[in-house]
């Protein structure tokens, strides 16, 4: 345990005699909490996705890492102080963002850390009373929450003291505490909702998507919030002027906090203060009284996974009616190992959470970069004025930018947590592994890139008319060409056959630099010739020819060329 954990454990074990009166065995409680906090410290957290280098090393300081991550997000919260003219507006923005971040962080934490189904086999068969077990869960949640809240609100805390002076210290802390309770209520509501509308087996997947969305939002927050500040309309509003603001919970916390700090209970201040204290306490009571029992029941279903799985298996088989991957595979590949590689990768990509978690966040990031690009780029004026050339440049920029997605997917193609299952390729008489890889690469292109290309083409067509199509098509084909080159240079492993580790880093960096340069060169050439339709069409044919040649090269890869 690190000193921070030790401090919090000590702090929350102070009322030990009270726990004992409630029927809790303090020695057992301490043993469980010690083990749980030690485990947290060695676990990958919501903020720090495992990257190549961490995978092998033993993780020792996950808790400190998580606190650092919270502090980092706490800095984002500071932006809220630049909105609005008065304290109450600033505080309302602050609590809104705080509650939001708390919810998302705890949602990811609750599943991976706080709800551990192994408890059912390890702790519950031991002579432990319900009171002790419940107390251990509650205290674990509380300590975990504090480890997030403290660094998360620290920047805001300093900020508000600088702005308003010492008098705001206690009210601010009260506000943070109450809005944290409120967040816990909201999370429970979300959990109940998710468990209501879906099966427990899909639960983890949904949480993963929330996690992906969160990564993107944080990224977008850092990109967009500083720019919002420059927007004077937001800087000069006061939420007080809005009549319906009284129904918005974060406003209660802000208003109550201000009333306490200024000791001014006239107007809405007193009502807000009462609501700010009463609502979280009542909602937590609702959680304990009504949510928790049904929640535990649902959770036990997560352990009874086997039955769910057999149902899911039937579903998967029935589903493939319209978009049969077999048809696509037959369309894009020859039979044999290439066809098999395509189908195998198609199914693995669609079903492995591991792969999605690594690739999908880049979708969102590219979208954010794209949006920034439209509004900030020097040609945004010409887009606004409806200039054809400006539109073309923008669309092409999007097309070439989308190549990053293909890169993200291709880079992750050889990796999987279930990498050991790849023995099938080695034990079966596969003559040329290149064909399997080629099928897999094509499958990435069709499943990941084709939908995006199609969207871009349709958007271009709608915004700018059919005249843009030859150039857009050339862009898409060029991206595929660069993807093929990328695959030829970097994908030297069978799909889903390796575990991520640090060893592959060295050479690939140079290769990706090379690819970026290639992307730039191709893009510039395209831009230069974009006005001449005959040049566009010839280049398009040339690119197609090159793709065909490179695919043949990939297919020819023999066993000794694989790494």
């Amino acid at each position: 345990m690190n000193p921070v954990d030790k401090f919090f454990l000590w702090f929350f074990m102070l009322p030990a005699s009270i726990y004992e009166k409630a029927g809790v065995d303090v020695l057992q409680l301490r043993a469980i909490l010690t083990a749980k906090l030690t485990m947290d410290n060695r676990r990958q957290t919501a903020f720090k996705r495992p990257n190549r280098n961490q995978e092998k090393k033993e993780i020792n300081k996950a808790t400190l890492g998580m606190m650092f991550g919270s502090f980092f997000m706490g800095l984002i919260l500071l932006f809220s102080f630049s909105f609005g003219v008065d304290l109450i507006t600033k505080l309302t923005f602050f609590t809104t963002m705080f509650i939001f971040i708390m919810c998302i962080t705890l949602i990811t934490d609750f599943t991976s850390v706080l709800i551990d189904v192994r408890d059912n086999f390890i702790i519950l068969p031991k002579p432990i009373t319900d009171a002790t077990f419940v107390a251990s869960r509650l205290l674990h949640i509380t300590i975990r929450t504090f480890l997030i809240i403290v660094p998360l609100t620290l920047p805001g805390f300093i900020g508000v003291v600088v702005m308003e002076g010492i008098s705001v210290v206690l009210p601010f802390m009260l506000m943070v505490l109450m809005s944290s309770l409120f967040s816990i209520f909201l999370i429970n509501a979300v959990y109940i909702l998710i468990l209501k509308i879906t099966t427990p087996s899909k639960f983890q997947t949904i949480i993963s998507y929330i996690q992906i969305g969160f990564t993107i939002l944080i990224f977008a927050g850092y990109q967009i919030l500083p720019r919002l500040r420059e927007n004077s309309a937001i800087a000069h509003t006061s939420l007080k002027d809005l009549s319906y603001i009284q129904y918005y919970p974060p406003y209660w916390f802000a208003d109550g906090c201000q009333a306490l700090a200024k000791m001014d209970f006239s107007g809405s201040g007193l009502v807000s203060l009462i609501l700010a204290i009463l609502v979280p306490i009542v909602s937590i009571w609702v959680v304990i009284r009504f949510f928790a029992p049904s929640f535990n029941r649902k959770l036990s279903l997560i352990t009874a996974r086997t039955e769910e799985q057999s149902k899911a298996a039937v579903k998967t088989r029935k589903k493939t009616s319209f978009f049969r991957p077999e048809k696509l595979a037959a369309l894009f590949t020859k039979t044999g190992s290439e066809y098999m590689g395509f189908l195998f990768s198609w199914r693995m990509m669609g079903r492995s959470r591991d792969f999605k978690m690594k690739v999908y966040p880049s979708f969102g990031m590219i979208l954010v970069i794209g949006i920034m690009f439209i509004f900030k780029a020097p040609w945004s004026g010409s887009i606004a004025s409806g200039s054809v050339n400006g539109m073309l440049i923008m669309m092409l920029a999007f097309v070439y930018l989308s190549s990053l997605l293909l890169t993200a997917a291709l880079t992750n193609l050889p990796y999987s947590e279930k990498y050991k299952a790849s023995w099938i390729f080695y034990s079966a008489p596969v003559e040329s592994p290149g064909k399997v890889i080629c099928g897999a690469v094509k499958s990435v292109m069709v499943s990941i890139y084709f939908p995006i290309a199609l969207i871009l083409l349709v958007v271009g067509l709608v915004l700018s008319g059919p005249g843009i199509l030859p150039n857009m098509l050339l862009g898409v084909i060029n991206v595929l060409l660069i993807g093929a080159v990328n695959a030829y240079l970097t994908v030297r492993k069978l799909p889903f056959s390796s575990i991520l580790d640090g060893s592959a880093n060295g050479g690939t960096f140079l290769k990706s630099m090379l690819l970026m340069i290639l992307l730039g060169v191709v893009g510039v050439i395209h831009w230069v010739i974009s006005g001449y339709i005959w040049a566009v069409i010839s280049l398009l044919l040339l690119s197609l020819l090159l793709i065909w040649i490179i695919f043949n090269e990939i297919k020819a890869l023999s066993w000794d060329k694989l790494s």
Binding site: L27, A31, A35, T38, M39, R42, R118, P127, T129
Partner: protein
């Protein structure tokens, strides 16, 4: 053969003279509308090694979970040493040592940390925990691994830690769910002998497994369940006589299979004809 005769006698003596240590009566359990345990009644006497066998999904794990106090929504009666498991699960759990199937443990902890947690949950003093677990793990040849994280351990090493965690508080009743899975041949011998020695010292062992040859050797009473019902109960000798078969494997097949094994293997062979 001699061993079985003697245990058979012991079993009969037990039946008439002793109070059962585990008494299961009219046990019924539903998962939703699925009736997984149908009117199970078994009395188990101190010092017995019960081999609890049955096909996948027969209800073995469910029975184990109920005796361990993990499931309480059943009907019927389960008493351990005269204590109703539903009324006083904590006291029952204190008498039981449970080794779960599938190496379920907190593998980011080290054996030292994990076993300390387990010991504390059994309310053992820390010195005793250290002393005992060091001895036990040393006997398993794992003294050098006490401070390594278990995420790098093989399945067999994890199983040794789990066996240690199930026995370290010297329980009267030991419930083993596939305890040999992942163990190498030598460790299997150690654990099998350990089971006999524990039984000799008066411990009651409830052994749930798929491995017929092991069950045949270690148990002095075999309970076979199929589709939630007890279909055979007795010593291996008794089962052999009743079913007119020579091995437990054959008895098992006769009582649980819906089609004959010969037929199935023939059909498998016929698949090559196309």
């Amino acid at each position: 053969m001699r061993k079985f005769d003697s245990t058979k006698n012991l079993y009969n003596i037990n039946r008439y003279r002793m109070e059962p240590i585990i008494r299961i009566q009219n046990l019924n359990k539903f998962y939703g509308s699925k009736h997984v345990l149908k009117d199970i009644s078994i009395d188990i006497y101190p010092g017995q090694v019960i081999g609890y066998i049955g096909p996948n999904g027969a209800g073995k794990s469910t029975t184990v979970k109920i005796i361990c106090g993990l499931l309480s929504d059943f009907t019927g009666e389960v008493m351990v040493k005269g204590i109703d498991i539903r009324k006083n699960p904590v006291d029952v759990k204190a008498m039981i040592g449970y080794v779960p199937e599938m190496a379920e443990l907190y593998d980011v902890l080290t054996p030292n940390e994990f076993l300390s947690l387990m010991g504390a949950l059994y309310k053992m003093p820390q010195e005793l925990i250290t002393e005992r677990t060091t001895r036990m793990m040393d006997a398993f040849g794992m003294a050098g691994n006490m401070d390594q994280r278990m995420d790098s351990f093989s399945k067999g090493m994890k199983q040794k830690v789990l066996i240690t965690s199930g026995l370290m508080h010297n329980p009267e009743v030991i419930i083993l769910d596939e305890p040999l899975s992942g163990l190498d041949a030598n460790s299997v011998i150690i654990v099998k002998e350990l089971i006999s020695k524990l039984a000799q010292s008066g411990k009651t062992i409830f052994y749930s497994s798929h491995m017929m040859d092991v069950v045949e050797k270690v148990s002095d009473r075999i309970v076979l369940i199929n589709e939630g019902k007890v279909v055979a109960d007795g010593s291996f000798e008794e089962l052999k006589q009743n079913q007119d078969k020579n091995s437990l494997e054959q008895i098992f097949a006769q009582l649980t299979a819906s089609q004959s094994m010969h037929e199935a293997s023939d059909r498998l062979m016929n698949a090559f004809d196309i």
